[in-house]
């Protein structure tokens, strides 16, 4: 792509802009393909369009019919929200921003020819590819879950959607007096505080509907990995006889027929409902393209551009990356990655310099009851000497206590980030 070509394309798209932005996709401008319509990919798709003045063509490849948010989805499991409450269509990306949304799966990437091959057989050429594949699960270490049908019975519900609804149904079907046992993998995994929030939501449901039931948290980590004192206070104050927390429990296998979790050096745990969060890595498409160079699990990137360190013209975002120090694998962070990457992609396509000093924040709210919420926040700034993002000294922190006010902010956050990502 030459600079002249891009400027020409930009002028052409400017004319098209007069007749409607939605018609610009498929024009003569540079081509960006985005794989994955989650918080990272959908945000990047929208902002590449906006920040190129609608001159760069953007195609988003996403297998799901609509966006289903992981944040707030623990409330669906707890019963205070429905799956519809956390679902947003992709229509606005197309109608308002001219993103071409292709409902398909990216089967392979040819980094040399710069082509994405879809499961349907179609091919999408690109000038730059933005890959936001989320996480996939490492089942090799849990042989019982590799048997046919096992993953339909022992759920992760760690990608919001059908499994979220199915886990809720398992809890509704469970007789009072049963145990809900959740296994948490060693960090890093998607959404550090998510499992502890889920424990609160299930306990909240049990306290109202099944008061003799228990929640057992079996954590591979040494301690609660996020907002530890706030969660422990909630468990002691609100769910004293319901939630039991056990650290240093490394899951080694699952006996699906016997509804039993097996651990390294610890006793087996039999429970009415099992919820297993397997160890995680970057989404399959990133791994098989050879981008997961960190421990064969996560994708290393240049934090100025999010370009892969393993392949030129491919940018990787969101939970799939090898994170910078103290950078969580969160929805909010993926949204920030999306915008940083979009600005860089638009600049690089025009042979312009990229922002040498990205600064962005993270905010993560967790519900400890149906109304009360706690947060963790941080501000991250590029450190040129270390070529990574570091938290700004003195910034960030957690809630002083759970509150209903933060419950209102948490829903305000959700409405705003859904709109910023998708509308």
């Amino acid at each position: 792509m030459t600079r002249r070509h891009f400027l020409y394309a930009g002028a052409a798209a400017g004319v098209m802009g007069l007749t409607g932005r939605a018609t610009a996709a498929g024009g003569t401008g540079p081509k960006v393909v985005v794989i994955g319509g989650g918080y990272g990919g959908a945000t990047a798709a929208k902002y590449v369009r906006m920040w190129s003045d609608y001159s760069v063509n953007v195609t988003l490849v996403e297998p799901n019919a609509a966006f289903v948010s992981c944040p707030i989805s623990n409330l669906v499991i707890g019963g205070s929200k429905t799956i519809a409450d956390v679902t947003t269509p992709y229509d606005n990306l197309t109608q308002r921003h001219g993103v071409r949304v292709v409902r398909d799966v990216a089967a392979s990437i040819d980094p040399d020819k710069r082509i994405v091959k879809l499961a349907s057989g179609a091919e999408l050429p690109y000038d730059r590819l933005i890959l936001s594949p989320g996480v996939d699960f490492i089942y090799d270490a849990l042989p019982g879950l590799t048997h046919p049908g096992a993953q339909d019975r022992v759920l992760h519900a760690w990608k919001a959607g059908a499994q979220t609804v199915a886990l809720r149904k398992q809890l509704e079907a469970m007789p009072d007096g049963g145990v809900f046992a959740m296994a948490i993998p060693l960090a890093p995994y998607r959404c550090p505080p998510g499992p502890y929030e889920r424990a609160c939501m299930v306990a909240s449901y049990f306290s109202k509907a099944k008061p003799k039931s228990k929640v057992l948290i079996l954590d591979a980590n040494e301690d609660v990995t996020s907002k530890g004192p706030l969660f422990k206070k909630a468990w002691a104050d609100r769910y004293k006889n319901i939630i039991e927390y056990q650290p240093r429990h490394t899951l080694t296998d699952v006996d699906v027929a016997g509804s039993t979790l097996k651990f390294e050096l610890k006793d087996d745990v039999k429970a009415a409902v099992l919820n297993v969060l397997p160890p995680m890595r970057a989404g399959e498409i990133a791994v098989k393209t050879g981008l997961a160079t960190a421990n064969k699990r996560w994708c290393e990137v240049d934090f100025l551009t999010f370009e892969s360190k393993a392949a030129k013209n491919i940018h990787v975002l969101g939970d799939a990356i090898q994170v910078a120090p103290a950078m969580p694998k969160s929805a909010h962070m993926a949204n920030q990655h999306g915008k940083t990457c979009a600005a860089a992609v638009v600049a690089l396509l025009a042979d312009k310099p990229v922002n040498p000093l990205p600064i962005y924040n993270n905010t993560c709210y967790s519900f400890v009851s149906d109304e009360e919420v706690v947060h963790v926040a941080s501000v991250h700034r590029y450190a040129a000497a270390q070529k990574t993002m570091l938290t700004v000294a003195g910034s960030g922190g957690v809630s002083s206590a759970a509150s209903e006010l933060e419950g209102q902010y948490a829903m305000g956050w959700a409405r705003n980030i859904w709109a910023d990502t998708l509308a």
């Binding site: 940083t340 310099p353 962005y360 941080s378 960030g396 933060e406 956050w413 705003n416 910023d420």
Partner: protein
């Protein structure tokens, strides 16, 4: 992929333009910084219900609030923690960006 020479030429050109504007911050950089706020305060500061809209608000008012958050003079659940991540110059530039957005 641009060459090193192109980078130098472009960088020099932009540097000269920057001087002509009396060290005004690069507007694209400020746009990127401001975009970080959008996750809670809406794209370009036009918020959904439940959060404060920043688009078209008074720059001086936003700067004062942020500096008060930063100094711990203004009570907050979270903004005192986030404000501490930004310098006064960055706060000024981001506030000017939002003040210039259509509400």
């Amino acid at each position: 992929m641009k060459t090193a020479i192109q980078t130098l030429i472009l960088g020099g050109w932009l540097g000269a333009a920057g001087l002509a504007q009396a060290q005004a911050p690069d507007p694209l950089q400020v746009r990127s910084w401001a975009a970080s706020c959008a996750a809670c305060h809406g794209t370009d500061g036009r918020a959904q219900p439940g959060m404060a809209s920043l688009a078209g608000a008074s720059k001086d008012d936003m700067v004062k609030k942020m500096l008060d958050f930063k100094a711990g003079r203004r009570p907050a659940t979270i903004m005192h923690q986030l404000a501490k991540g930004y310098s006064e110059d960055q706060i000024e530039a981001i506030a000017a960006y939002f003040a210039a957005q259509k509400n």
